[in-house]
């Protein structure tokens, strides 16, 4: 019988050998001169009208341009517009376009293209979720509502001059124009492809979309006719790798040139003498927080909101669990955007928390703590839960997947919830108006349903302010009230860390993805 059994085992080894002979080496055949990045998910779309996710926004920044853009210090600088004038108390903007800016199909960009692109976002029959970016333009709301056939606030003065008139002064307006939704698209191509434009992208950017294998990879190639600084690499390949450990393996094999360091791998790389020096970090424009439902008991009570704040040792969580991958938050506005002094309104004072809980008769009463089903979030939630328990709160963690979670918190089902807010544009207004203005309850951003007329007024004044000093004065006062009334427990501003291969030069990360046009990085 032993003799007979040999045969199958020989067969097995033959099969394995054949299989391995078919296989190639673990290193991929790389496209020469191309830099390889990782995306954790397939970009939903590359159509600027529809993009709401970071991968889509980050890639579209390399394929498109707007009138203005942000520089690395978060200043507004010219993009396709070479200059602009602001008139009539900040309600009229006249943009002078650069001549000879070409779409990837060699058609020249004119003011008419901008008008078409903006109207496309606001189209009453369209499904762009980004209408808020341009709805400050005079007549935009009527047009979205189908009441008018034109937007009288957008006027093509001539081929290279575009006039935008706003309903009322709005100080961050130029910031809005640096966003994805304000990129210019070619009318002919959009009309030709219709709903499939996303797969046949024609923009003006430093890169051209060559191939998009959905859920696999995207290949961009350098646009040699680009009107500004041309890319140093021949192209970019984005590989879509959902699993972090797989991406790390690919990076270590040299199949990826740059990766965002997964939280689980952070200490390994930061403590490595070899890799440590190849880590880039950036103070992110974001704020992580616990939000209270301020519209109903128990957390319509400021004292109880403060008790929660007193009961959590955020500093310790940041140092131990979070491995210092962030900076403590003093308020909702990230420190790098804040141009005023701010002190911590509350700190870790567990005894004070216990006392308030006793006084307010909250001891042991159940509160719903909603979190997403992300492992890091669940870990943090459990730490917070234990702190709350010590103070006398009985927090029940309710994990929901993202879609159900968003519905629940938008509808005000949670007592408290864990969330973060990432900047759309670098202005304190972006961390105040959507999140704390009473007109934005629910899906518009103010998920705590916080309402304070004084805060509303201060934010509105800031939006209308003509000078930076005036604007900052209003925002400072709004932030101080918010910080005192604690509709959030302010946790931290998360830092981003990336790791690059030693042969990658001039690589850096930016606080907002749209700044990175991909033109500087080289081998």
């Amino acid at each position: 019988m032993i003799q007979r059994l040999k045969v199958p085992f020989i067969n097995i080894s033959v099969v394995l050998t054949v299989l391995l002979a078919f296989s190639s080496c673990s290193s991929r055949d790389r496209l020469e001169g191309h830099i390889y990045y990782r995306l954790s998910a397939n970009p939903t779309t590359l159509d600027p009208a529809l993009i709401v996710d970071v991968p889509g926004g980050s890639i579209s920044a390399k394929l498109f341009n707007g009138l203005v853009k942000l520089d690395e210090n978060l200043n507004i600088i010219p993009d396709i517009a070479e200059r602009w004038e602001i008139k009539e108390n900040g309600t009229v903007y006249i943009f002078y376009l650069k001549r000879g800016v070409l779409f990837h199909n060699n058609q020249e960009v004119t003011a008419t293209d901008f008008k078409y692109s903006f109207m496309r976002i606001l189209n009453p029959k369209g499904r762009s979720p980004n209408t808020w970016v341009l709805e400050k333009i005079l007549g935009a709301r009527d047009y979205i509502g189908g009441k008018t056939k034109d937007i009288y606030g957008i006027e093509v003065l001539d081929k290279y001059r575009l006039k935008l008139k706003l309903e009322k002064p709005f100080s961050p307006f130029l910031n809005l124009l640096s966003m994805t939704a304000a990129y210019v698209v070619p009318e002919k191509e959009v009309e030709k492809w219709g709903e499939d434009f996303s797969s046949h992208i024609i923009g003006t950017g430093p890169f051209i979309l060559k191939e998009w294998k959905h859920n696999n990879e995207l290949v961009l190639v350098r646009n040699n006719n680009y009107f500004s600084e041309k890319a140093k690499v021949k192209g970019i390949v984005y590989r879509i790798i959902p699993e972090d450990l797989t991406a790390v393996t690919e990076f270590e094999l040299g199949n990826l040139d740059v990766i965002t360091i997964p939280a689980s791998e952070y200490s390994k790389y930061s403590n490595s003498p070899e890799w440590g020096k190849l880590i880039s970090s950036m103070d992110g424009l974001n704020t992580y927080y616990i939000g209270f439902n301020c519209s109903r008991p128990p957390f319509d009570n400021i004292k109880l909101r403060k008790a929660v704040t007193y009961s959590i040792d955020i500093k310790k969580i940041l140092r131990t669990f979070y491995e210092e991958r962030g900076r403590l938050a003093k308020g909702p506005v990230p420190d790098i955007l804040r141009k005023w002094e701010m002190t911590f309104a509350t700190g870790y004072e567990p005894e004070k928390a216990k006392k308030i809980v006793e006084e307010e008769r909250m001891k042991g009463r159940a509160i719903n703590f909603y979190v997403t089903a992300d492992q890091e979030v669940i870990d943090i939630a459990e730490i917070i839960q234990s702190y709350l328990k010590k103070a006398g709160f009985n927090a029940r963690i309710k994990q929901l997947e993202w879609s159900a979670y968003k519905s629940a918190i938008n509808n005000g089902e949670a007592d408290i919830f864990w969330l973060s807010w990432w900047a759309d544009y670098p202005d304190p207004e972006n961390f105040l108006f959507p999140l704390f203005h009473s007109s934005n309850h629910g899906a518009s951003g103010n998920r705590t349903r916080y309402t304070n007329m004084e805060v509303d007024r201060l934010i509105e004044n800031g939006q209308r302010a003509e000078s930076h000093v005036e604007k900052n004065y209003y925002y400072m006062n709004a932030e101080k009230i918010i910080s005192e009334e604690a509709p959030w427990v302010f946790f931290w501003h998360k830092k981003d860390f990336t790791l690059r291969q030693p042969y990658i030069k001039n690589y850096r990360i930016y606080p907002i993805y749209s700044i990175d046009k991909g033109t500087e990085v080289s081998f």
Partner: protein
């Protein structure tokens, strides 16, 4: 045979109708709103309402369902809420990858699973039987998530033999196929072992042995052929389930298949994607069962698919 095929097609239509209705109702009953995923973090109630109208989510469930069925009747599956791409086009693009992965996994699982199960039965209670049984328990209990990562670390990172992720030629297919084959192989080992042991104790085997038939032809013809029915049933079930996608394996190895596509659809409440994947999945399972029935017909004369011989 003709009547059987007609019956099967009629059954398939009924099944599709029932499954689409149940899935449609259940997905709509789930908590979570697809529009919230489409609008990002900041959107006014008016825009949310406008998009809801645009995708038809403002209508009643029955009207939505009828709308979907009439779309299907035209041979379409609609567009994804998120990517705005045609669901059918995406499925057509991804299905061959899933087919490759499922076929790869079965090509490894079936010969090895049946072989080891057979050896295990022949060597019952001996060292090799215990070893194979132990390995099959391990194969069933180790999650593919772990085995996949281990295989990747060993074959890609240590030996630098195979690419860790991506969708491409056979070199990309090997690791996910091996990972996916392990639980199927383990199931097949156990089913084969039990079935072969059953057959070995049947009177006709004793008769055959008494007639002086050689051990080799006894094993290959009498035992194996009689043990094939349950084995083929298991193969059909496993293959059918793999053709509906293997979410974890596809995720670990970045393989662009139906499993990941379905999962993303579910997470984002992308109803056209969920429905499209379920319809294709149902078709595949019915087709595989049909093939299995035909195979039964050929390997076991007692099974007659038109049912008139008995």
């Amino acid at each position: 045979m003709k009547i059987y095929v007609i019956k099967k097609i009629a059954l398939l239509i009924l099944l599709l109708f029932g499954i689409t209705l149940i899935t449609f109702t259940l997905t709509k009953a789930l908590p979570g709103d697809p529009v919230y995923n489409m609008v990002g973090e900041r959107s006014s109630p008016e825009i949310i309402e406008k998009i809801r109208k645009e995708i038809g989510a403002d209508k009643g469930i029955m009207r939505q369902y009828i709308g979907y069925v009439s779309l299907l009747a035209k041979g379409e599956m609609g567009r994804s809420y998120h990517t705005n791409r045609k669901v059918l086009d995406d499925i057509i693009m991804k299905f061959p990858n899933t087919l490759k992965l499922a076929a790869g996994a079965m090509l490894i699982a079936v010969p090895f699973g049946v072989l080891f199960g057979f050896i295990s039965a022949l060597k019952k209670n001996m060292m090799i039987d215990r070893f194979i049984t132990g390995m099959s328990i391990a194969g069933l209990s180790i999650p593919v998530f772990w085995s996949g990562l281990m295989l990747m670390l060993f074959f890609s990172l240590k030996l630098k033999l195979l690419p860790p992720s991506g969708t491409g030629d056979i070199s990309y297919l090997l690791l996910p196929s091996i990972t996916l084959s392990l639980p199927a192989m383990a199931t097949l080992v156990r089913v084969t072992r039990v079935t072969v042991l059953d057959v070995m104790n049947m009177p006709f085997i004793k008769t055959a042995r008494a007639k002086g038939i050689s051990e080799r032809s006894l094993n290959m013809i009498h035992i194996m052929k009689n043990a094939l029915i349950p084995i083929i049933t298991v193969i059909g079930l496993e293959f059918g389930s793999y053709l509906n996608g293997a979410v974890l394996t596809e995720t670990i190895f970045g393989w662009d298949g139906i499993g990941r596509f379905t999962m993303e659809g579910i997470i984002k409440r992308d109803y056209p994607v969920i429905m499209g994947c379920i319809i294709v999945g149902t078709l595949v399972v019915v087709l595989i069962n049909f093939l299995v029935d035909i195979i039964y017909h050929y390997i076991d004369p007692r099974v007659r698919i038109h049912g008139t011989d008995r």
